[in-house]
């Protein structure tokens, strides 16, 4: 489902963000990408969602070679993946319903179908009663659940979560993890989650890929990770 082969990324200022990164994620897998600040996690996300191009190597997601995408093709490609961010990125002027519906309008889904789908995903994230609320009327945890609902609304095969619990307290983080696990099981969605929250990684054990200085230093199939300096 996700293939990274000898991926290098060097920015114009000379920074080597990724160095010979190799890993693959199978369909239905739930994988953590962990690493300290500056380890290349954000760059990896940018390569996976088509925002940046690799300097060298292949990045393939859902059978699409992301490095070969033309700029015009990127929006179409993004409809195949769902992305969740640390800062939620909800449209502030739209209601919960409209935020989720927007992701479906861009794929030209018909209105009755949109309504049905929005209701369905709001049910998955248990926030049906917040349909007419605006993002600023919701707590951080609720906003992230709405962002997840939007990300899965068009039933993507892959969900990329970039520090989805970064702005949440441990209790809310746990709720988000439970929700992501539920989505992974219910829809068979492949989930790649970038995090630096080792408590979560050790509590909800899954395959863990460790990045340091732009390079993969460990790929732990059983999960669980204790930093050397701890």
């Amino acid at each position: 489902m996700i293939e990274c082969e000898h991926v290098y990324k060097q920015y114009k200022n000379g920074t080597n963000a990724l160095y010979d990164v190799n890993f693959s994620v199978k369909q239905g897998e739930f994988v953590y990408i962990i690493g300290p600040t500056g380890s290349g996690k954000s760059t990896l996300i940018k390569l996976l969602d088509g925002e940046e191009l690799p300097t060298k190597g292949n990045v393939e997601v859902v059978g699409i070679n992301v490095g070969e995408l033309k700029r015009k093709q990127v929006p179409i490609y993004r409809r195949n993946i769902g992305v969740v961010f640390q800062d939620f990125r909800l449209l502030p002027t739209k209601t919960v319903y409209e935020n989720i519906a927007y992701a479906l309008e861009v794929i030209n889904m018909k209105k009755p179908q949109i309504k049905k789908r929005v209701d369905e995903v709001l049910d998955v994230v248990s926030l049906k009663e917040k349909k007419t609320s605006f993002p600023h009327e919701l707590s951080g945890g609720q906003q992230q659940r709405i962002a997840i609902a939007r990300a899965i609304a068009n039933r993507p095969k892959v969900l990329i979560a970039d520090e989805p619990t970064g702005n949440l307290d441990p209790g809310k983080s746990d709720q988000i993890m439970n929700l992501l696990e539920r989505i992974n099981k219910r829809y068979g969605t492949t989930i790649l989650m970038v995090t630096h929250d080792l408590t979560l990684v050790n509590k909800h054990r899954k395959r863990t890929v460790v990045l340091e200085h732009g390079h993969i230093v460990a790929d732990l199939a059983q999960g669980g990770y204790v930093r050397h300096d701890q």
Partner: protein, 298 residues
């Protein structure tokens, strides 16, 4: 799916009302100036045309050539000159009568009666030019024809006035184009501010897979709405102001020479033009602004 950008365009105006109002005011001020220039230019054009059409060359035939065969040759020679639209003949008796008729006073008319038998007038041709700016050239060509005693036309001052009016008209045209571009620049800058404040929204729209045209369309509709809103006051003021001016002045400005164009239907065409400029300015201005934030480098 067409209704989505329209709906979002209207709600965009409502959500960013202060910005929309300032953009609309920029359009309003510019359209008011444009309206004044169009009214001025069009009236000058109309006035110039009136002068041009009333300008004719009078050609007096030499006394020695006053027989029909010779005058026929003169008429044909005049008609052969490039730019001559119409040649009308008037014999010396008719000319005498015109002269007498030009006096209002009966006593003066009677005073000229004795000259009827010893008529001092010439046979004459009246020549109309296809265009006013050819008058001087045609007059000098006629002067060369054998049997022509004298050639008169409005004179160099009238021709210069027509030329000046034509220049004023051209300058007016350039000013209208220049002001339209200025309006686009103004609205572009104001809309740019509204869009700049919403660039995070554009990023989010991109994240969920929206194409540039999908993102762009509501912003463009918003720009058009602002353009239309901005043209309401200029249209109302133009229609009311010009109609009132026409009614108060009786359609005449300063003297009979300066006749104003009738408001109906002219003023309604102008209202349409102002609305059209408002729409174009809103469309182009918003398109240029939003495109700035849709350019994507990677």
């Amino acid at each position: 799916m067409i209704s989505r950008p329209i709906k979002e365009g209207f709600s965009g105006v409502g959500r960013h009302l202060a910005m929309a109002i300032s953009s609309a005011i920029a359009v309003t001020i510019t359209l008011l100036i444009i309206s004044l220039f169009i009214i001025f230019s069009y009236n000058v054009q109309n006035f110039t045309k009136n002068i041009e059409s009333s300008m004719e060359i009078s050609v007096m035939v030499d006394y020695n050539y006053e027989d029909s065969a010779k005058e026929d040759v003169i008429q044909k020679s005049i008609e052969a000159i490039d730019g001559v639209k119409k040649v009308t003949y008037s014999n010396k008796d008719q000319e005498f009568q015109y002269y007498i008729d030009s006096f209002d006073d009966e006593k003066t008319k009677e005073a000229f009666e004795p000259f009827k038998d010893d008529n001092p007038m010439h046979d004459a041709f009246y020549v109309e030019a296809a265009s006013g700016d050819q008058i001087t050239e045609i007059a000098s060509e006629i002067q060369k024809i054998e049997g022509v005693a004298e050639v008169n036309y409005g004179g160099q001052s009238t021709v210069s006035m027509v030329d000046t009016m034509a220049m004023v008209r051209k300058i007016g045209g350039f000013l209208v184009i220049g002001l339209t571009l200025l309006a686009i620049f103004l609205i572009q800058n104001t809309i740019k501010l509204t869009i700049s404040a919403r660039k995070d929204e554009i990023t989010i729209m991109r994240n969920v897979g929206a194409t540039n045209s999908f993102i762009r369309s509501p912003f463009v509709i918003e720009g058009i709405i602002i353009g239309v809103l901005g043209s309401i006051i200029p249209i109302a003021l133009t229609v009311w102001g010009y109609t009132t001016l026409y009614q108060q002045s009786g359609g005449i400005l300063v003297s009979n020479m300066f006749k104003l164009v009738k408001p109906n239907p002219y003023i309604f065409y102008l209202a349409g033009i102002l609305l059209g400029i408002g729409v174009v300015v809103g469309f182009v201005g918003s398109l240029l602004s939003v495109n700035r934030y849709l350019r994507w480098k990677r």
